[in-house]
């Protein structure tokens, strides 16, 4: 299927969604919800409101800060544990106990621990991003085909080449899988954190619309969050494909 007809089909799917929603409202159901038309009309004035674009900036800053710190720690830790049995045996069990705790469950402790709510929110996004990156780096290293290592040894690879030319590229696709999952999770987490303890950001914007009983505001807030998450995932995907061009077909 050509790219054009794929795009067309996707556009039809999205339009159909809004059409059904509009129809339901026209028929008089779900009266609580604004109709797509009402939302569309409200968008221009809403996004010109003071603070709307700042909400994007605030949330995005938290996401990328937490995500960046998580990646900076999870990648070396994953490599270390993937290449050293001793490291894995001593560190892995405790990480496995901490891992199932949902990021939002850290909120009470984080509020008490961190001096500012900003740090609390960044910390939560960090927790959300850390484990998917870490686990995928580890899995990537575990799944490096032994034949590549053997071939590299036969070809006389130095230790440096074994790491940079074999292990790193072999792990790269899995790393980007982790990063793509992580960026989506950080958006989920930052929204929850902002609703709970923020004073700005897209999560706060949505919550604030609820407090001021602006149904249209809630919907626009939600759509904004969806678009932000989508853009982040697409960007991460593009970076991944550029960094590992051999995975493209």
């Amino acid at each position: 299927m050509s790219i054009n007809s794929t795009l067309l089909q996707q556009a039809v799917g999205i339009l159909l969604f809004f059409a059904v929603w509009q129809m339901v409202r026209t028929l008089g159901y779900l009266v609580l919800l604004p109709s797509p038309a009402e939302v569309a009309v409200a968008i221009p004035s809403f996004i010109q409101q003071e603070g709307y674009w700042m909400s994007w900036v605030s949330s995005a800053r938290r996401v990328f800060l937490g995500f960046g710190i998580a990646a900076a720690l999870a990648v070396p830790l994953g490599i270390w544990m993937g290449t050293s049995t001793r490291a894995r045996q001593s560190v892995f069990p405790i990480l496995e106990i901490v891992r199932p705790i949902p990021p939002v469950a850290w909120l009470p402790l984080a509020i008490l621990f961190w001096p500012s709510s900003e740090m609390t929110m960044v910390y939560l996004t960090f927790i959300g991003a850390f484990f998917p990156i870490f686990i995928n780096v580890l899995a990537g290293i575990d799944n490096v085909d032994i034949r590549y290592i053997q071939a590299a040894r036969s070809l006389g690879a130095s230790r440096g080449a074994m790491f940079w030319k074999i292990l790193v590229p072999a792990t790269l696709p899995s790393l980007f899988t982790g990063l793509t999952i992580a960026i989506a999770i950080t958006w989920e987490v930052v929204i929850a954190a902002e609703m709970a303890s923020g004073s700005d950001g897209l999560g706060y914007l949505t919550w604030n619309s609820y407090m001021s009983q602006s149904m249209v505001g809630i919907i626009i807030g939600m759509i904004s969050i969806g678009v932000a998450g989508l853009l982040s995932s697409v960007a991460m995907n593009l970076i991944g494909r550029t960094a590992a061009p051999w995975t493209r077909r």
């Binding site: 034949r147 590299a152 040894r153 036969s154 070809l155 006389g156 690879a157 030319k165 590229p169 061009p245």
Partner: protein
């Protein structure tokens, strides 16, 4: 125990084929020679020196392709020379020349997964040959290719061998492939694996498909098949006993 007192001589600059019943340990032999596996007891010696690990003097071409998927063909083939300290542009131009020689000119910048199975095998042979190994080891390199490509690869590999004449040990389980390629065939016995018989293949090179209809081919094939059959029956019998045990185990509900 797979191998015991197994020693054989490879004629320099000749192509020796190792053939034996499945499960005999053909792969184990080449992996040990390449240094990827260690014997649980005893030692592996090549030219009187103990094998202490892998090295570019003994190159192994794997069963399914082990080309690095993240490197272009040129980068794959140039990897060995680069690691040996050759300057980058020299290594690359040598790699490209060799790729051209194995019929992959124009595909230098492609990634392995953009190529057909047969092309990948040729690139991998090139990646081994560029290091000018004392010994080239191939472990059923054409397995998994369709019948036609396999035939073409055999012909191609035979021609390539005539050009470089690297001492080669080629593992296969196909009698036709063995006779078509070999200067001598080593038939392995089934456990303990050892050399059962060495058969010379005095058919002149270059060889082509007409070989398969010649009289001497028929004689050789019968000889190899007889030997293999004897050993395969042993292996099969062991399997049969295993199956009987399983049956009994099932009957008493183990």
């Amino acid at each position: 125990m797979v191998l015991r007192d197994c020693s054989f001589t490879l004629e320099p600059n000749k192509l020796t084929v190792l053939i034996g019943p499945s499960g005999a340990g053909k792969s184990t032999i080449v992996k040990m020679l390449a240094g990827h596996e260690k014997p649980s007891l005893g030692s592996v010696k090549v030219n009187g020196a103990e094998v202490r690990g892998p090295g570019p003097d003994r190159m192994l071409v794997f069963q399914e392709t082990a080309l690095f998927p993240w490197m272009s063909l040129t980068e794959n083939v140039a990897f060995g020379p680069l690691q040996a300290g050759q300057p980058a542009n020299e290594a690359r131009s040598e790699a490209n020349a060799l790729l051209k020689k194995v019929g992959l000119g124009g595909f230098e910048d492609r990634y392995p997964n953009q190529l057909s199975g047969g092309m990948q095998r040729r690139a991998e042979v090139a990646r081994s040959l560029i290091n000018k190994p004392d010994l080239l080891l191939l472990d059923e390199p054409f397995r998994g290719l369709d019948h036609m490509s396999r035939g073409l690869m055999q012909e191609y590999f035979g021609q390539l061998f005539e050009e470089h004449r690297t001492t080669t040990l080629f593992v296969t389980s196909e009698v036709d492939e063995a006779i078509f390629l070999a200067d001598q065939i080593i038939v392995l016995s089934y456990k303990p694996t050892c050399v059962k018989e060495i058969i010379d293949v005095p058919i002149a090179r270059p060889r082509d498909v007409h070989l398969f209809t010649s009289a001497e081919y028929g004689v050789l094939k019968e000889r190899v098949l007889d030997l293999l059959y004897e050993e395969a029956v042993k292996g099969f019998a062991v399997g049969a006993i295993g199956a009987k045990d399983m049956e009994r185990a099932g009957a008493v509900g183990v």
